[in-house]
């Protein structure tokens, strides 16, 4: 029984991270209608940036987050200008299909670059508080995971505020809903696309920090995390930002509980099963709006 509770809590906490990765992916897809399966590679990049900031500058990983955000934001700007800018010229259906193929290529390119510059070694960040945990009746709540969940929630709330309360945020929402109408309202949608994509990359980077702290970073981890994010996005439903963290936690919970009975090796199959189930039974997701 205690094992179940422990697994459940671990699952919920990890799920917060899933939600954070999904946040960036959903933003890019919602605004640009571009499916960037290389999102996980941006997470990986964020992890490496954090690692080097910690190793070389000696910065505390949580404090390095703003810098990591800026770094991956910049990479996002670059990727948009060099690549995705051309994809948004197509109509929506072609856009989605082409962005899927192209970002698939980007996955391999970025992985190869990572191997070249960072080597294939696994990196992880160990800090003084890496093993610290709150303990209730022998249930461990690792500090890092809890902090990770808080960061995820904070960023999610922050993004929602940006979208709801700022003029530019309204422009982003308008562009997501109807890009032609948005440009007829005088909105420069190229700029909206650029910023939205860059923010999505920045969010991926910060998620990478948490991954470097809580797990490890190596060139090949990207797709695994992208997959988690995709599942969470489908679970939450398109068009829902608020639901992403919750959906992430639910996925984490399901994985955690399943691992009690099936063993950790089959974690991915559980996620896959959840994914297929939701798509079959309730395609609009748990919180999504019907198109």
């Amino acid at each position: 029984m205690q094992l179940v509770i422990q697994s459940a809590i671990s699952g919920l906490l990890i799920g917060g991270m899933y939600g954070l990765i999904a946040l960036g992916l959903a933003l890019a897809f919602g605004v640009l209608k571009v499916l960037n399966v290389a999102h996980g590679e941006l997470v990986m990049l964020g992890g490496y940036v954090t690692f080097f900031l910690v190793a070389v500058v000696g910065l505390d990983p949580f404090l390095s987050m703003p810098l990591v955000f800026v770094a991956t934001f910049g990479v996002g700007v670059l990727l948009y200008l060099v690549l995705f800018r051309f994809v948004v010229r197509f109509d929506i259906d072609t856009r989605i299909k082409n962005s899927l193929l192209i970002s698939f290529g980007l996955v391999l390119i970025l992985q190869a670059l990572a191997v070249t510059f960072f080597t294939a070694d696994e990196r992880a960040i160990i800090t003084d508080y890496s093993t610290a945990a709150l303990t209730f009746e022998s249930i461990r709540v690792p500090f890092i995971r809890l902090a990770g969940l808080l960061v995820a929630v904070a960023l999610s709330v922050g993004l929602q505020q940006l979208l709801d309360r700022t003029t530019f945020g309204h422009a982003i929402k308008a562009t997501s809903e109807d890009w032609a109408l948005a440009s007829l309202a005088g909105i420069d949608i190229r700029r909206v696309y650029l910023v939205a994509f860059a923010i999505s990359a920045g969010l991926a980077g910060v998620a990478g920090t948490l991954i470097a702290l809580g797990f490890s970073v190596s060139p090949s981890i990207g797709l695994g995390w992208t997959l988690k994010a995709l599942i969470v996005v489908v679970l939450a439903g398109l068009g829902s930002i608020r639901g992403l963290i919750v959906a992430g936690m639910l996925l984490g919970l399901a994985e955690g509980l399943a691992s009690v009975w099936l063993g950790g090796a089959y974690r991915e199959i559980v996620a896959l099963g959840a994914f297929l189930l939701v798509l079959l039974v309730r395609p609009q997701g748990l919180f999504g709006r019907r198109e």
Binding site: I96, L100, L101, G105, L108, A265, E268, A271, L272
Partner: protein, 316 residues
């Protein structure tokens, strides 16, 4: 006349491939050839679901990997190779049929994401379950020659291309292409859309497993999860697109171009090969969706136009 020329060309190509291991002792040449054959088999098999049926699967590596692991495990534990191979093909085809039923209900990008999810999930799970390297035992290593794996790989490539050719001319293949071009219209004229998609999916999976068997027989040692990784899915799609998706020649030309390019010219640019090919892939998707075949056609048309122009000048 044209038909006979192209049939003759295929036979010449086949003859060259058959003779090669007897004329060249160079292991590098044979390795490149074997890798080309395996990739050709993979690409041609993917072309059936992706090119003929128009369903972009991003998880082809799952079937390739299954072919490798079932063949390898059975063969290394003593079963004769043909039996191991057959078991791998049948099991993979069955798996594709089972998983295809829910998967193929998803249209377009959801199918692509679904297959990607499937492949990544399986790849990670295999990595969890089989973390150690699989190596050929010492006796097998001592007896190892390139000849047998060469002909198995060649056989896989020939079989796959032949199946693709047959399908293309068959009623079933026509149905698949109808589904690709306009699913709604195809359904309206009585084509069983799901059945055709499933058939394409299962056939391509079986052939991918065959390619996997060839890989398992050829490779001395590797991590069991390696054939399941996305690199294989990507290279398959890459060479098919670059060569010309939906054509017979495309996957072959693309594979040859890729393997030879990678291992000869690009070998000097370690690590940047992938980047180069990745960029090429992106360029093809955005600008020349028909790949080398379309490129060749365009060049051909341009040449013809130049010839006509000159003719007019002369006659003028």
């Amino acid at each position: 006349m044209r038909r006979n020329v192209s049939v003759a060309a295929w036979f010449v190509l086949l003859a060259v491939c058959i003779v090669l291991p007897f004329s060249s002792e160079d292991s590098q040449v044979l390795t490149i050839a074997i890798q080309t054959f395996i990739l050709t088999a993979l690409a041609s098999s993917w072309n059936i679901i992706g090119g003929f049926a128009g369903q972009i699967s991003l998880g082809h590596a799952a079937f390739f990997g299954m072919g490798t692991i079932i063949t390898r495990e059975l063969w290394l534990s003593g079963a004769p190779l043909p039996l191991s191979l057959a078991a791998a093909i049948v099991a993979t085809a069955l798996f594709a049929l089972i998983i295809g039923v829910p998967m193929l209900r998803f249209r377009g990008i959801y199918f692509s994401i679904g297959t990607l999810a499937l492949a990544v999930a399986i790849s990670l799970t295999i990595g969890n379950l089989f973390p150690g390297i699989t190596s050929m035992p010492v006796e097998a290593l001592r007896a190892y020659t390139f000849t047998d794996p060469y002909f198995l790989a060649l056989g896989a490539a020939v079989t796959t291309v032949a199946v693709a050719m047959l399908l293309r001319r068959s009623v079933v293949g026509l149905g698949m292409m109808a589904v690709r071009d306009d699913e709604a219209a195809a359904g309206a004229v009585g084509v069983d859309v799901l059945a055709h998609k499933l058939a394409a999916f299962a056939i391509s999976a079986a052939l991918a497993a065959l390619a996997g068997g060839a890989f398992a027989f050829f490779s001395v040692s590797y991590y069991p999860s390696y054939p399941f990784t996305a690199v294989w899915s990507f290279e398959t799609i890459l060479v098919t697109f670059v060569g010309g998706i939906g054509t017979i020649v495309g996957p072959i030309a693309g594979s040859a171009f890729f393997v030879i390019g990678r291992d000869t010219i690009a070998a000097n640019f370690e690590g940047f090969q992938v980047i180069g090919f990745g960029v090429l892939f992106i360029v093809v998707v955005l600008l020349v969706p028909g790949g080398m075949v379309e490129g060749a056609q365009r060049i051909g048309a341009w040449v013809v136009k130049q010839g006509q122009g000159r003719k007019r000048d002369v006659e003028g």
